[in-house]
């Protein structure tokens, strides 16, 4: 590990090492923080994933594993562990990677980064314990008048404040890097994407503070009441915007993996940055689609925030959705894979789990999560699926198929780069994205299928045993929930494979020497990650076919839902 005197100003000498795989100057303190945050994230994924499997086996009516109290308790714990803690700890690692590491800079205020980590860890543990104690089964949304134990809210507030600190550390690192001249010109695209995520995160956490602090005081009896509609409005500024951070950082991971593995550059830096700008300006406004059936808010507010502003953010996603496969195609053709329309795709490195996970994440997110998100964000057709299992089906497509699969794929590069270990069980790692992707896609599809048939979300027993007013769902709904349970088993197998590979590699993997890294680099295209530049071509016949298929699927499914609505709301 070399010591590098940072030019430009007098600072305490910092320890850096040159990564033999990427050529990046890695700040030792940033590296340790990245390692710790990644491992913490994986622990929460393992725990939250187990909870998720138990829930899916309960929804499978033939098994119906858990009693009602445990179902709601674990549903709350599952949401917190995977939707908040797994993803956000990993996002902290991505913030430090895309700022300090990509910019060849030292991390600003590493001591505060450790304070943030401890706050997040303590907050996550306190909130999880509160749920497991059994008196905080308030679901992910914790809508009043449902009231959790005070330490549930306190844990979430601690976690959020810690996360907010990491956003400021990201911004501080940008200032440090610019001031110390570690890069020239514009920041690289991955860093710009990280900045986009940090900006959305700041709004997200500010919304969380605005609503969770009074709710905490309410749980202590200091405030007499919380207005449920105001709570819902402000809370979704936290609840949905946090998912927009996930989308943003998953897109960053797509670009990063394409760059590191293939040396792929975006088709146009300016267009990709403009797409991120659309996220900065409009993506958070999509939170309004959770309030589309609330009578207290006007159609003007709803339609502006969803059917106008949200579509501008969707435009951003579509640009990324074309730019990433386009960049892969351009890079592959540049590398000599020019046979036919899809030769570049056939000859892509499908045996590399980082690439395979990234591309599966891209396709599944676009086709399953993206299209269903637009359906739920349209006021009229939202009513078809509102509060049904379609909603968790949709967000499993975005957060599990999209974000989680992308983060898993990124881990396969972070392990050799930051832990300096070869992947343990390489065959298992090779199959893991396919197994997990198939299971996650099944979960999403079958929950959306059951939701389309009207199955309510957050419902322990769809047979309505002992209910005063009975209701019979069609047999297909039960079949869908059975398939959902089977898919959860497959996804859980993929999750176990991931955890085994990660911990096996980190604690027992073969140490990666500089000589091995130079002879067999896992990130030969790293220069594309840290420099500004575009592929600058639109001769992409394969991508144009793929994008056309996507648009046809999108238009057809959109039309089908309007047709479905017309069939329900007959007019005479």
């Amino acid at each position: 590990m070399a010591s590098i005197a940072v030019p430009g100003r007098q600072v305490a000498e910092e320890r850096f090492r040159t990564c033999p795989d990427t050529g990046l100057e890695v700040h030792a303190k940033a590296e340790t923080l990245i390692r710790v945050n990644v491992l913490t994230a994986v622990v929460f994924l393992a725990v939250g994933g187990l909870f998720g499997l138990l829930i899916a086996l309960t929804r499978w009516q033939a098994i119906h594993l858990l009693p009602a109290e445990w179902f709601y308790l674990l549903l709350t714990a599952h949401g917190a562990a995977v939707l908040i803690f797994w993803i956000m700890f990993f996002e902290v690692a991505l913030f430090y990677f895309t700022s300090a590491v990509v910019l060849n800079s030292r991390l600003a205020t590493p001591m505060i980064a450790w304070v943030a980590y401890v706050m997040m860890l303590v907050g996550a543990l306190v909130a999880t314990v509160a749920v497991l104690q059994g008196n905080s089964s308030v679901m992910f949304t914790s809508y009043p008048p449902l009231q959790a134990a005070p330490h549930f809210y306190l844990g979430l507030i601690l976690f959020a404040v810690g996360m907010l600190l990491t956003c400021f550390i990201f911004l501080g690192t940008l200032v440090v890097a610019k001031d110390e001249g570690t890069y020239e010109g514009s920041i690289p695209l991955a860093t710009f994407g990280g900045l986009t995520g940090a900006i959305i995160m700041i709004f997200t956490l500010a919304s969380g503070a605005i609503i969770l602090i009074p709710t905490y005081l309410w749980s202590l009896g200091i405030i007499s009441t919380i207005d449920p509609l105001t709570y819902k409005l402000v809370w979704w500024g936290l609840g949905h915007s946090s998912q927009q951070v996930n989308v943003t950082l998953q897109v960053v991971v797509w670009y990063t993996i394409a760059a590191l593995v293939l040396g792929a550059r975006p088709l146009s830096e300016k267009v990709s940055r403009t797409a991120f700008l659309l996220y900065i300006l409009f993506l958070q406004l999509a939170s309004a689609h959770h309030l589309l059936v609330e009578p207290g808010l006007s159609s003007a507010w709803k339609i502006f925030n969803t059917s106008y502003a949200m579509y501008l953010a969707v435009l951003g996603s579509m640009i990324h959705g074309m730019s990433v496969p386009g960049a892969v195609e351009a890079a592959q053709r540049r590398l000599g894979h020019t046979k036919g329309i899809f030769g570049w795709l056939r000859e892509a490195p499908w045996g590399n789990p980082a690439f395979a996970g990234m591309f599966l994440s891209l396709v599944l997110f676009g086709f399953l999560g993206g299209i269903s998100g637009v359906i739920l964000g349209t006021e009229q057709i939202n009513i078809l699926m509102h509060n049904t299992l379609y909603v968790p089906g949709h967000f499993h497509a975005t957060v599990v198929c999209g974000t989680t699969l992308a983060f898993m794929a990124m881990t396969y590069l972070l392990i050799p780069i930051f832990f300096q270990r070869d992947l343990a069980f390489p065959k298992m790692a090779k199959w893991q994205p396919y197994v997990f992707g198939a299971g996650a896609a099944g979960i999403s599809l079958f929950m959306m299928g059951a939701g389309t048939l009207g199955v309510a979300r957050r419902h322990w027993d769809i047979t309505f045993t002992d209910a005063l007013i009975s209701f019979d769902y069609p047999a297909t709904a039960f079949f869908m929930l059975g398939l959902n349970g089977l898919s959860a088993l497959v996804a859980a197998a993929g999750g176990v494979m991931y955890v085994v590979v990660v911990f096996g590699s980190v604690f027992a993997g073969k140490r990666r020497t500089a000589a091995e890294a130079k002879s067999n680099p896992i990130a030969p295209g790293a220069v594309a990650l840290r420099t500004y530049g575009s592929e600058g071509t639109l001769k992409l016949p394969g991508t144009i076919v793929l994008v056309s298929v996507f648009f046809i699927a999108f238009a057809l499914y959109y039309f089908i839902n309007w047709r479905f609505l017309a069939g329900i709301w007959t007019m005479s």
């Binding site: 911004l171 940008l174 514009s186 920041i187 710009f192 900045l195 986009t196 900006i199 959305i200 700041i202 709004f203 500010a206 919304s207 605005i210 207005d227 509609l229 105001t230 409005l233 402000v234 500024g237 915007s241 300016k270 940055r273 403009t274 700008l277 900065i280 300006l281 409009f282 958070q284 406004l285 939170s287 309004a288 309030l291 207290g296 808010l297 006007s298 507010w301 502006f304 925030n305 502003a309």
Partner: protein
């Protein structure tokens, strides 16, 4: 003392869009202000205008 801009400096100045994209703190301002005004403040204003039910 501020340095006077020459014609050469003006010609080399990046496009306004590029300057926006290269200014992280302006982006932070825009990214926080837009949803605060259009989503939160507008939404809360509407909620406060809902008439109370007669007691």
């Amino acid at each position: 003392m501020a340095r006077q801009e020459t014609d050469k400096d003006v010609g080399a100045r990046p496009h306004v869009m590029q300057r926006l994209l290269d200014n992280p703190f302006l982006l932070v301002f825009l990214g926080v202000t837009m949803p605060t005004v259009l989503y939160l403040i507008w939404g809360i204003m509407e909620i406060t205008q809902i008439p109370l039910a007669p007691s």
